[in-house]
Symmetry: C2
Subunit: 537 residues, 2 copies
């Protein structure tokens, strides 16, 4: 037991307290355990992180924002400085390619995201100050005063890691401590990140328990933790079943849970766009669907294809691409088994396999890139089963005959993160665009034109969110600064409070340089400066 990796609890690394079990990472390409045996934490560890998290929350509320920004920047630099080690660990645990994915795409995205959070902290932009000079009321967004619990997913060991990703950066940017529950499929990567985070916390002079991490808890303890009213909020990225179980625990306790659960990301190939170059579109689609073995929340899981000559050409080329591709490594046995079940479910529901459909030959956790097809009438009739997410390199083609069928398919979708339409450059699809986009728009968080949905830019205008059940509600984004930070804030109004007793952002003199909505207009000005304000009406 003494060699077991330590958990980060209460501001220090220590042995897990009476762990209920242990687990090891696996090399997915060989299906063999690698690295040390990590502890499955007990209720004792859970209680300890809660108690320390509450104390840290009180301290963080009173911490100068500059220290938070300093921490985020130190941590970003430490991740960049440790890139070789981190990439090697993550590549071994996930089988994701070191280049370009881990080293040149995901790691810079993770460190860049931490830096964007730091900038939002320094600019105070997430606090959205509002000043009403006539009523004496002023309001802004503020820390929750309680710890935020973050559950990381299996598919982004850096950019969505519970100890380094968007939820982590967002929660701590708003001066909330984070209790990270790492994903058990990449514990060594998470441990290394936590070591860097902990060192940066100490160097920045933040409360040591502002960042804590457990590797794993069993499901029932995780659900119990999610319902503990000492939490301020929960961030979750993962499966629908997992998200709904945590939500069912958090909701009755009044704990806001921001769960990003599942999405099939429909792509509509309008006839004009398809006629322009069906072959190139098929190649683009194949690359998007199979990149990272399709293990993306924004994987194009459904493509709506007209039943015309260009549509047939697209299907033929895509089928060939999928059929000729080798089986790809998946993260784990669980992913492989879920994927096999999902593909079977699609066929039972009436989809026909055009290519792939099984694990194929080779070692490790793999699945052949798989393409299925179904008629639009069957898809519309059976919304549920044919909209089940198949997490992996799998996509279902829905063949439509005529414009009305396009629109009818759009109306059949439940909530998704993204919806994509490919339209012709000459505008010939735009009547159909209007009809399809209108229905798709309210069913997705991000509406995309002529790009595949994979690839989520960290942008203030990103929405990595969408209507239930893709997320727990349609009003927030899990990616993009400062918007993602808003999830982990409370709205604080001050009524008749003297200037000297207000937070810096709300005082008459705008010493922090933030834009504030003063009497209805966003402005850099001091209150009472004249030019920037207007008569209250």
């Amino acid at each position: 037991m003494s060699d077991q990796p330590q958990v980060l609890v209460g501001g220090r690394w220590r042995a897990a307290d009476r762990p209920t079990g242990e687990f090891r990472a696996e090399d997915p390409t060989r299906a063999e355990a690698i690295g040390p045996a990590f502890p499955v934490s007990s209720a004792a560890d859970v209680e300890a992180v809660l108690i320390a998290g509450i104390a840290a929350a009180a301290d963080l509320v009173a911490t100068a924002p500059e220290r938070i920004a300093d921490f985020l920047e130190r941590y970003a630099s430490a991740i960049e400085g440790d890139a070789e080690t981190l990439v090697a660990l993550a590549a071994a645990e996930t089988a994701l390619p070191a280049e370009p994915r881990l080293r040149s795409v995901e790691l810079p995205r993770a460190s860049g995201q931490l830096r964007q959070a730091a900038r939002a902290v320094r600019e105070h932009s997430w606090s959205d100050p509002v000043i009403d000079t006539a009523s004496g009321l002023r309001a802004h967004r503020a820390p929750l005063g309680k710890p935020v619990l973050v559950f990381g997913p299996n598919n982004f060991p850096f950019a969505f890691n519970a100890i380094a990703g968007s939820d982590f950066a967002s929660a701590i940017a708003a001066r909330n401590p984070v209790i990270a529950k790492a994903h058990p499929s990449h514990p060594a990567t998470s441990r290394r990140l936590a070591e860097l985070a902990h060192a940066a916390i100490l160097a920045a002079g933040l409360p040591a328990a502002a960042v804590q991490m457990l590797y794993h808890v069993d499901n029932s303890l995780g659900v119990r933790l999610a319902g503990d009213a000492r939490l301020g909020a929960i961030g979750f990225t993962g499966s629908r079943a997992g998200g709904l179980a945590l939500k069912a625990a958090a909701d009755p306790a009044g704990i806001p849970i921001f769960a990003e659960m599942s999405s099939i990301n429909p792509v509509f190939l309008l006839p004009g766009a398809l006629a322009e170059d069906a072959d190139a579109l098929a190649a683009t689609f194949f690359a998007s669907c199979t990149m990272g073995s399709g293990q993306f929340c924004t994987n194009p899981g459904i493509v709506v294809v007209p039943k015309d000559a260009a549509g047939d050409a697209f299907v033929a080329r895509a089928t060939r691409e999928f059929a000729e591709a080798s089986p790809r490594p998946l993260f784990s046995r669980g992913v492989q088994e879920s994927l096999a079940r999902a593909v079977q479910g699609l066929t039972v529901a009436g989809a026909q396999v055009l290519a792939g459909g099984d694990v194929g030959a080779g070692t490790g956790y793999r699945f052949r890139p798989t393409l299925l097809s179904v008629e639009s009438a069957a898809f519309i009739d059976d919304k549920g089963a044919l909209q089940a997410e198949a997490f992996g390199p799998v996509s279902l083609l829905v063949r439509v005959d005529g414009d009305e069928a396009f629109t009818a398919v759009a109306k059949a979708f439940e909530g998704n993160l993204t919806g994509t339409l490919y339209r012709a450059a000459d505008g010939s699809d735009d009547v159909l665009w209007a009809s399809v986009a209108r229905h798709l728009r309210e069913r997705v968080g991000r509406l995309i034109a002529n790009r595949m949905p994979t690839g989520v830019a960290v942008s203030p205008a990103m929405n990595h969110g969408g209507p239930f059940p893709s997320t727990s509600q349609a009003g927030f984004t899990a990616v993009g600064m400062p918007s993602a930070i808003h999830r982990f804030t409370a709205l604080h109004s001050y009524d008749n409070v003297p200037d000297a007793l207000l937070p810096d952002e709300l005082r008459d003199r705008n010493t922090v340089g933030v834009q504030r909505r003063i009497d209805g207009r966003w402005s850099d000005a001091d209150v009472g400066a004249g030019a920037s304000t207007r008569t209250h009406h």
Copy 2:
């Protein structure tokens, strides 16, 4: 049955479909039924409003915002023009004073709130457009595309009415249809408002079913309705039990519910402030606690008073005021019975009755203004029972000995809408302020200095919300434009979508004149105008 008032369903007034019962309003001062027998709607009416609401939602998404603003302004004018009738109906059904409360305070507040919503619509200020020129992403807030269900409370027949109040105005401002579930204690007032709303809908050329109203449904049908996934969101103002029951139904269906449930609104009288004028503070407190028979969400239900000479003087004067006051009319038998139970619960938990404590003499639904007291140690030990809301003219004094006890009491509170501190003008309380306010701040939505909490200004900087269980979450306000509108919106991102296919607010040319966050800065400018944007970094 033919004389029974009609329900507003599917864009027209019609008889209730197989009602499950009927009910009448009461004159609270005599405890006698008045007015006609209104229908209790059946599942058939509920299904009809949902079906019509969904169709109206699709139409409203495509409706020009100017029409929504036109409706809101017409409706506001109609309410003002019909003031005499509305005030007479509301006064009869609620026993609230016609003057100044209903005629000069609440009715203008309701119509003014509708006008503020109209202005937010015309200014597009609720849509919060965000433009990131480097990534090609643009985002804003948009309609839900589904109807919003609004449950109105008993205590504001105009300003929180399901068919006229803040939730109503907020939901329709964002182009969502409203299904109003009126409160059964003032059906004739609600009917009159619905007649005005319906006429304004038709005059403005909006879809007729954009506003629908049922008078009443039984509790089990209400809960079933709240869990219907065809809803986009729910607004609720009322009791904690009612709010939690609806939340338990809405949560598993992924329906955001914005429930404002209960609050005891602690008031801390710091020693310096009390020493300045204990007598005047006692009179102010008495007036605030008994105004409108104390039937306010922001009633000062707990006052923290030091055990010193000024504190004793405050208690003596307040006790006298409460003891000499006549019993006040309450809205209904239900309110009276709940209040009697609540006062009994406080005494069982250890509070001592200083004045009042029973219904007193007289007809109708009444309760004597009641003052109770308890020692801080007992309050801290027994958080739950002594923090139960007593909805009516009742307040509990918590006596504290020394600064540490003040802070300890502040730490004992659960989530509330407001928290108030009275501080001395000479700054002598400011050390204690810092210690108490720090803990109170994270437990309340609005922190108030030297004002009683009753009176909720309709201001963009208002927070009429607070941490659970005062509301269902700490991140939203139920009052204040445009902030309250955000509750009933979805976040919509556009990725690589051509300018001509974007919503007006997100196009390069800012034709609607809204301030937009372009590359991190709020600006009126067009995109590409140079001066307003900066390098994306």
